[in-house]
């Protein structure tokens, strides 16, 4: 159990795993919106419709992988910290975005092989999902850049040593 948690935290990689995996949906879903808009502008034809479909599939697959790693990272935050609440919002928004794109994918399933442009409804879902994702991603970034979640997780010992060498007043471990 402990080793599974360490795996999900990215200890084996020396880099937190959730931010690595989060790149994919974060690029694919706004990308799908761009491809949808291009296909509506008669650019790319069926290749663009298919590309959008593949982008959503790839994004969903990576999102499902990223979810457990994110959950583990979140469970490591103390409940009283402001980042805990932000993490909760981040997770809820991500769940909504994932659901929206799952519905989006289902709507495309029948038509993407031949359609030369994306229908209105999937396009709207892409736009809504992307908007929610942006909000969620901003919160995720805040957790790292404002509250330092998962920063220094792998290099704590190194920095403690440096600080101790400089005579810093170190908090207990």
């Amino acid at each position: 159990m402990k080793s599974l948690l360490d795996f999900l935290k990215g200890k084996w990689l020396g880099h937190p795993l959730h931010p690595v995996l989060a790149h994919v949906p974060m690029a694919m879903w706004p990308g799908a919106l761009i491809f949808d808009l291009l296909s509506q502008g008669q650019i790319g034809g069926n290749a663009m419709v298919r590309l959008s479909f593949y982008a959503i599939v790839f994004g969903l697959a990576a999102a499902l992988l990223a979810a457990p790693t994110g959950l583990v990272d979140w469970s490591g935050i103390k409940k009283g910290k402001p980042a805990w609440k932000i993490g909760l919002y981040h997770m809820s928004l991500n769940l909504i975005a994932t659901l929206l794109f799952a519905v989006n994918l289902a709507l495309r399933w029948q038509t993407f092989r031949d359609a030369s442009e994306v229908d209105r409804m999937p396009l709207l879902l892409s736009a809504a999902g992307t908007l929610i994702l942006f909000g969620s991603a901003y919160l995720g970034g805040r957790m790292v850049y404002q509250y330092g979640i998962s920063v220094g997780r792998m290099s704590k010992k190194k920095w403690r040593k440096l600080a101790a060498a400089g005579g810093a007043n170190l908090p207990p471990e």
Binding site: V20, G31, N46, A47, R50, L51
Partner: protein
């Protein structure tokens, strides 16, 4: 001023890490579509999709390079992250160059049903270098702390945006979720008071 903007201080979130999702995502998508086209040659327009994804990836990489370079120039020379950042930048420049050539090779073979060997090789090399570079970028943030909390450290105070009340105790409140949307909110007072006493 422009430097602050490119470092994302008004957003209170660095810009380069926001933009790098796109080159990484699109270039990986392009590579995956190449692999799928090898496995399922009968599926149409996979390679065309791969080409479009690569095009978007390169454009996004060029966009991300601008704030990335500003972030790079802001790392002190004696910081251990400077070496990592130099490697990260050199690798990224190589990746963009490789994908530029790759895109050019593919642009003349868009209707081919099968991927050409040089294009596939360039994609493999490109993805390899991109992975290493991305890892180094993550190392910069998660191990060396570059850009973490930077917006808290050195944001210049602007009279029009922050309410400064030196004689009252700072209002203790939850910091706003999206601070750039509510720059005049009460919760910023705490922020401002904290910052101004630290100067």
């Amino acid at each position: 001023m422009l430097k602050d903007l490119l470092e994302g201080k008004p957003l209170r979130h660095p810009i380069h890490p926001m933009l790098v999702h796109f080159p990484i995502g699109f270039l990986v998508l392009s590579f995956l579509l190449d692999l799928v086209s090898l496995a399922f040659p009968e599926v149409p327009s996979l390679l065309r999709g791969s080409f479009y994804a690569m095009l978007f990836g390169i454009i996004a990489a060029l966009l991300a390079a601008v704030p990335g370079f500003v972030d790079y120039s802001d790392i002190r020379r004696d910081h251990p992250g400077k070496v990592t950042a130099s490697r990260h930048m050199i690798l990224n420049l190589m990746v963009v160059a490789i994908y530029g050539i790759n895109l050019w090779i593919r642009s003349s073979a868009l209707t081919d049903p099968k991927i050409s060997l040089p294009a596939l090789l360039l994609s493999i090399i490109g993805i390899g270098l991109l992975s290493v570079s991305g890892y180094l970028g993550g190392h910069l943030i998660y191990d060396e702390g570059i850009a973490v909390g930077r917006h808290k450290r050195r944001t210049r105070l602007r009279k029009t945006r922050f309410i400064f009340r030196p004689h009252t105790r700072p209002v203790i409140g939850r910091p706003p979720l999206f601070p750039f949307l509510t720059p005049n909110s009460c919760a910023m007072v705490k922020h401002c008071a904290l910052k101004s006493t630290s100067r």
